[in-house]
Amino acid sequence: MAVEGIGARALRKEDKRFITGKGKYTDDMVLPGMGFAAFVRSPHAHARVKGIDASAALAMPGVDAVLTGDQLVGDGIGNIICGWMIHSKDGSPMKMGAWRALEPETVRFVGQAVAVVVADTQAQARDAADAVEVDYEELPAVVDPLSALEPGAPQLHPEAEGNLIFDWEIGDEAATNAAFDNASHVTRMEISNNRLVPNPMEPRAALADYNDAEEHHTLYTTSQNPHVARLVLSAFYNIAPEHKLRVIAPDVGGGFGSKIYIYPEEMVCLWASKRVGRPVKWVSDRTEAFLTDAHGRDHRSEAELALDADNKILGFRVKTVANLGAYMSLFSSSVPTYLYATLLSGQYNIPAIHANVKTVYTNTTPVDAYRGAGRPEATYLVERMMETAAREVGLSPAEFRRKNFVRSFPHQTPVIMCYDAGDYDVTLDAAMKTADYDGFPARKAEAASRGKLRGIGLSCYIEACGIAPSAAVGSLGAGVGLWESAEVRVNPVGTVEVLTGSHSHGQGHETTFAQLISERFGLDTDAVSIVHGDTDKVQFGMGTYGSRSGAVGMSAIVKALDKVESKAKKIAAHLMEAAEGDIQIEGGELKVAGTDKKLTFTEVALAAYTAHNLPEGMEPGLKEGAFYDPTNFTFPAGTYVCEVEIDPETGKTEIINFVAADDFGKVINPMIVEGQVHGGLVQGIGQALLENAAYDETGQLLTASYMDYTMPRADDVPSFSLSTHETLCPGNPLGMKGCGEAGAIGSPPAVINAITDALGSNDLTMPASPEKVWALAQSGMKQAAE
């Protein structure tokens, strides 16, 4: 190890435990006397629960208890909530249907839990869960969001007439309509965004332990935000007051949004542990994960883009129906509204935008934020429209985009966001150069000589990250503030512990965050440890999602470091009898400028704790905390270029080259940032080519395992060419914008634009399965022959 500051490709401090099998995930935790939970789940998408007979299950070996929704409700456990209030355009609040962790009356999606068994072993619990007899009266189900809005559709919740949750709008409708009246060209498309299942490789898990003497609960769980989990479990679900509930999110095997939420299973484990008087563990199997982890995306949109005679955009009009599934999950209402429609301006000057979004209940798994959350849907819409419009008006896709780029900052869009900094030409130019865009016609001709179809596609994305300024999101309906906290503890021996409210589940915080300390004090990164994921250790935090750990979480650390540095300098100045302003920190030492007087960081730390000789009135110790509330969103942006080759005989699409040029602002660890982009790109490519959560008409999930849900594998994707280009974010101390979601946001339209370019047909929905591509290739060849 070494001093590795900002910009260093520091190898990860956390890796050793993972590569030697010493990581500790929730399922690895064992408590004495623990029992295992297995859930009894509805096989029907919509049914009345007429009765539950647990007698056979209770008689089975090892079974402690079979608990049902009536008992849960009877114990005062609260309903699962959505934490972001959205109002319809008529001013009425969103219609939240009651969601109980165990449903006593009406199940609304396949896999919804109606009872839980606790037994000595996992196998016994599962055996007994199979033996619980539930009498269901099946009800008609509706799966398609457009059908759910039709008159006569099966109704899910009495609270939501016509299955409509809200009918929301943003932007100036009159101005937008006027723009279309003056248009010389209008591009129109129907665009859908396919439903995805997040699929972190570690399935969700919970281990709950109730101590009746202390009336205290401990929950180990797979969470991206243990403090938010504790807050919600305390304030809304009545599990226990916050000081009687400790939530620990240990090593967590990926999240991608799906581990933000507090699901029924985790809270049932807490409640069941108290009920049965032993620790209770539950581990999801993969099929349960498919059925119950919040899904992502699932939009149907109509979009229209108005251009003037010079091919400048005049207006953008969008109507979207978003399927939220059977219940409103924690962030579900914010995703198709403020995380989506506020990005419809893309990288472009668009004078008038209007979007109408209707959200709807269906008999499917609840839908919430999944990597990108709203921004992939917006980017897909905008970038498919841009490419299509360019084709229609006969401009090259790059030229059309350049004609409309935002070039002066700050730039206020018509949909709330104020872009603070960026240089969209730089990333477009870099990506096109790396992709050898100009050489494409020759490559296309060469492929044609082998009977293959080549296509190339662009995507110029922008996203809003660094979520989020608390007052701003509060005014838009958020139930919480979205700041972050940090505490920097310097130990008497000069080592440093950083307590952060951010949570690492693959992002490498233990390394990147340590680099900030290494940079500031010239310390070895080995002298720093990052503490996170435990509500007993870290005072509070909002967790990790929305590419916020850098821009928000690290900004809080910087603020705390400022305070530590200031105090350390005061102590050093006092000890060396110098002016505070003359103290410089360099290579782990505090020096008096222009002299050879110096103290090591350790000597200063020790002095702070011995407190034998501190400046008059100074408290002992060297420990500072800070809360950082962002002043604006951040706006990562970039250009992706995808080149594909299609085998027209089978419809198989191969990605020949994929180039990403991103502007993430300041990059702390390029190696980790590249890794984030790689992973995001493959999730986006997965959406474009492979992944789809498919239901049949009765609400059965047809893709409930890896036998049918196509996860991207190593041979489905290429290696990538990446570059970063820095414009600093003026809103935070490091100038960071965030990098966690860009790949997933920017890549789907690049892939589909490339495939439609190759096929010469725009009539393609995601995922571009081999059969769909084959059918288009065949009809294209037939047309060409005629």
């Binding site: 196998a123 089978t650 419809g651």
Partner: protein, 265 residues
């Protein structure tokens, strides 16, 4: 998984005896399909009789112009066998493309054919090569052995001991995998016998499991070239259709895979 009783048989006789005693016994090869099925509680045999350690059911030997392969021989062993590569290269390459490397280390020839999954690869090779399945009771021709989706001619207590594959002057297998499961959506095995006759067998696509393509066979017998089968496709009516591919798409894949198999043979 429901509880079961595991037995490891040391001989075919012992395996037969254990099966006879079991209430609802199942023979266990590598378990790469059976165990996942049991984990999903879709199968609940009272007893599992592991036959993989039976000496005479393991190994590959020369058999006339072809090879005989013990039923407990793993896919990895078949794929790596110099003898198989030399005698029937199409068979070695087929075995090397089943599942993934870890699955190939466990999965066995006997287990695969006794299950007769319509998307399994081996049935195409057995049918196209005219293989003989040797059981503890009789010899069965491949086409007799596979009797429908997940159905074989095996009696409940009958044990596949080995499979005899006649040699071929040319052979190849080409498959288009299901993007999710990587099982065959359409897999075509083409085998040209010493006498110049050709057999073409298709797996993955048929509603009743593996089937032959007589029209392709006739065309290839007179002209063993990809173009000879380019215009021949199975009737989509008898083909599988699911979220990954319609019957019409699978019919096309059969033609394309047949062309590619002929080109590779």
């Amino acid at each position: 998984m429901y509880e079961t009783n595991y037995h490891r048989a040391g001989s075919i006789a012992e395996a037969a005896e254990l099966m006879a005693k079991a209430e609802d016994g199942k023979l266990l090869g590598g378990g790469q399909t059976l165990l996942p099925t049991m984990k999903q509680r879709l199968a609940a045999p009272s007893d599992l009789v592991d036959v993989t350690k039976i000496g005479e059911m393991n190994g590959i030997c020369e058999d006339g112009d072809g090879v005989a392969i013990g039923a407990a021989t793993t896919h990895a062993e078949v794929a790596a066998s110099d003898l198989v590569k030399q005698k029937i290269p199409g068979l070695a390459s087929l075995a090397g493309g089943i599942g993934d490397p870890a699955v190939r280390h466990m999965g066995t020839l006997g287990g695969s054919i006794a299950n007769n999954d319509p998307a399994a690869d081996y049935p195409a090779a057995l049918v196209a090569l005219g293989a003989i399945v040797k059981t503890n009771k009789r010899d069965l021709a491949a086409e007799e052995f596979f009797s429908g989706m997940f159905e074989t001619a095996l009696d409940e207590d009958e044990i596949v001991m080995s499979v005899r594959f006649p040699g071929a002057s040319a052979s190849a297998y080409s498959k288009y995998p299901n993007p999710a499961s990587r099982y065959a959506m359409a897999g075509v095995f083409v085998a040209k016998a010493g006498d110049g006759s050709v057999k073409v067998a298709v797996t993955g696509a048929g509603q009743d499991g593996v089937f032959r393509m007589p029209e392709m066979e006739a065309a290839l017998a007179s002209n063993f070239a990809p173009d000879a089968v380019a215009g021949i496709a199975p009737d989509a009516d008898g083909l599988l259709s699911d979220i990954h591919g319609s019957a019409a798409y699978r019919a096309n894949l059969v033609t394309v895979m047949a062309k590619r198999a002929v080109a590779a043979a």
